[in-house]
């Protein structure tokens, strides 16, 4: 049974592989960060984040991939781009978060509240099946899988009675072609993306 208290991080033993990976793949150099906090100060959703934007940059420097890929902030970021607009060093945080989301997906990591990932998967699977997003099945499945069984139920009924909701969506005519897009080459991030 090892120590059950927090042992300080030994910085000389922390490797900078994540920071390097981000610099090479995205062209985002986190050493340019002045740690000024202007990003966090203006973040639209910052008060709901478990880690503010500036802290997120710091987590990368600590190579703390585990926290980064499972934090709530990763998924509730609105991509409003204010952090990038205001950063005096021009650090592309929205792109960094996009990259981390892709990484989280590839590693099969789920956020503690997986609504956003679920939403994406449902939309994409609808596109794969019928070539387009059919809202009714997507919403139904979403509410069901997140345990909100009766959410929007009366709204759905009203819409159905007004003819605004159909259970069956017409399929796209050439849906095999759309399906082929899903078999496309996996995205390899190579080189400078700017």
């Amino acid at each position: 049974m090892g120590p059950d208290f927090y042992i300080p991080m030994r910085l000389n033993e922390v490797d900078d592989s994540l920071q390097k990976e981000i610099k090479e793949n995205l062209g985002v150099d986190l050493e340019m960060c002045l740690e000024c906090g202007k990003c966090s100060g203006g973040c639209s959703n910052g008060q709901s984040f478990d880690y503010t934007p500036r802290k997120i940059v710091q987590l990368v420097k600590f190579n703390d991939e585990e926290t980064l890929l499972s934090m709530d902030a990763l998924w509730i970021c609105l991509s409003c781009q204010l952090c990038l607009d205001r950063c005096p060093s021009g650090i592309d945080l929205p792109r960094l978060l996009d990259y981390l989301r892709a990484k989280a997906y590839r590693k099969g990591l789920r956020a503690s509240r997986p609504q956003v990932q679920l939403f994406y998967e449902l939309m994409l699977s609808s596109v794969r099946k019928i070539g387009r997003v059919s809202e009714f099945p997507v919403i139904l499945q979403f509410n069901w899988k997140t345990g909100q069984y009766l959410k929007d139920a009366h709204l759905g009924l009203t819409m159905f009675l007004k003819g605004k909701l159909s259970f069956l969506s017409p399929h796209v005519k050439e849906k095999e072609k759309v399906r082929r897009l899903f078999n496309g080459s996996p995205v390899e991030s190579r080189g400078n993306n700017r």
């Binding site: 000024c36 906090g37 202007k38 100060g41 503010t52 205001r86 950063c87 005096p88 060093s89 021009g90």
Partner: protein
């Protein structure tokens, strides 16, 4: 041709230019001190107080002007700008224009000292701070004037003041990447003065760092924080908004990692220091080089020399505080004197 006394022209009469002209005159050579405005002193004249000893800059200016007046070899030309210059008999033939009536005068000089000083950057691209939009958002020099007003009892007493540092400095995205050196000190000074005048006011300084590299500087800033009770918040503000007629500043307190807000009456922006407009053109006239920001560049191994027989001192080389401007002026004068002595 009769023997003409060696003459140097000093362009700009801020502390650097004044000291340069004074030392040249005291060494026995002719110095012409050309100043664009109606009064000598440059930016120093606009200041209400100074660091690190809280002295009145006008005392220094008055003392220096008295010294100048007592120096027969210094001739002062106010309202004068340099219109043109050409090489002439081993020196320069400089054309000066009087802004009051447009008359020009030609001067034959043997050396030039550029001392045009610095200005504050135009902050209109910082829309997020509301400069030019909300009337109570001021730059540092405008705030000095406000401090003077308050000291004379006019203007409305503030309940809260927020001072934001590094506006336009240390900004590679839309400002200047460099640090403007003097803002950390003058911001501390301004914050301390507000507390002196209005002890019940809440004063906040938003910083990324505070740079107090100089004699008595660190002690000065610590006094402002510990004795005058100015609150320093670490975080570069993201936005200034208007709420019920007052100003709301939004930032993150990075030390604890939480978004914070303060509601104040006046917001002061410590703007980046840039060379005075016209410096670049003047440099070209005399064959001096400027960097990408317009600051004068010195020749290698010659810290005050910009070109052959051309020297510089003070804010036109880079942002500088008054004591150092005086030192640089003296250094430029020494270079001129050395030059004149070798003929």
């Amino acid at each position: 041709m009769r023997n003409r006394e060696k003459t140097a022209i000093v362009i700009g009469a801020g502390p650097a230019g004044i000291e340069a002209a004074l030392k040249i005159g005291q060494a026995g050579y002719q110095a012409v001190l050309a100043e664009r405005e109606a009064e000598l002193g440059g930016t120093l004249r606009q200041l209400y107080s100074s660091f690190p000893r809280w002295e009145d800059p006008r005392d220094l200016l008055d003392a220096k002007i008295r010294q100048l007046e007592n120096c027969p070899r210094v001739s002062i030309m106010k309202h004068s700008t340099v219109e043109a210059s050409q090489l002439h008999e081993g020196g320069f033939l400089v054309t000066l224009r009087d802004s009051r009536n447009g008359t020009t005068k030609d001067l034959h000089v043997d050396a030039v000292i550029l001392a045009t000083g610095f200005a504050l950057m135009d902050l209109s691209i910082y829309g997020e701070y509301g400069y030019g939009i909300y009337p109570e958002v001021l730059n540092a020099l405008e705030f000095e004037a406000r401090l003077r007003e308050w000291s004379q009892g006019s203007g409305q007493a503030p309940q809260g003041v927020a001072l934001i540092k590094c506006v336009g400095s240390r900004d590679r995205s839309k400002g200047n990447p460099y640090c403007s050196k003097i803002c950390c000190m003058y911001t501390a000074k301004q914050a301390g003065l507000v507390k002196d005048m209005f002890p019940d006011a809440k004063v906040y300084v938003f910083y990324m760092d505070y740079r107090a590299a100089g004699k008595e500087y660190e002690e000065f800033v610590r006094d402002v924080i510990e004795k005058k009770h100015v609150r320093y918040v670490r975080g570069r503000p993201a936005k200034v908004l208007c709420e019920n007629g007052r100003l709301l500043v939004r930032a993150e307190d990075t030390l604890v990692g939480l978004p914070v807000e303060v509601l104040v009456d006046v917001v002061v922006l410590a703007s980046a220091a840039v060379p005075h407009p016209g410096t670049r053109k003047l440099a070209e006239m005399f064959g001096a080089k400027t960097d990408e920001y317009g600051f004068l560049e010195n020749e290698r191994f010659e810290p005050v020399k910009a070109a052959d027989k051309v020297f510089f001192a003070g804010g036109c080389g880079f942002a500088v505080e008054t004591p150092l401007a005086l030192q640089q002026g003296a250094a430029a004068a020494a270079a001129v004197i050395a030059l004149f002595n070798t003929r």
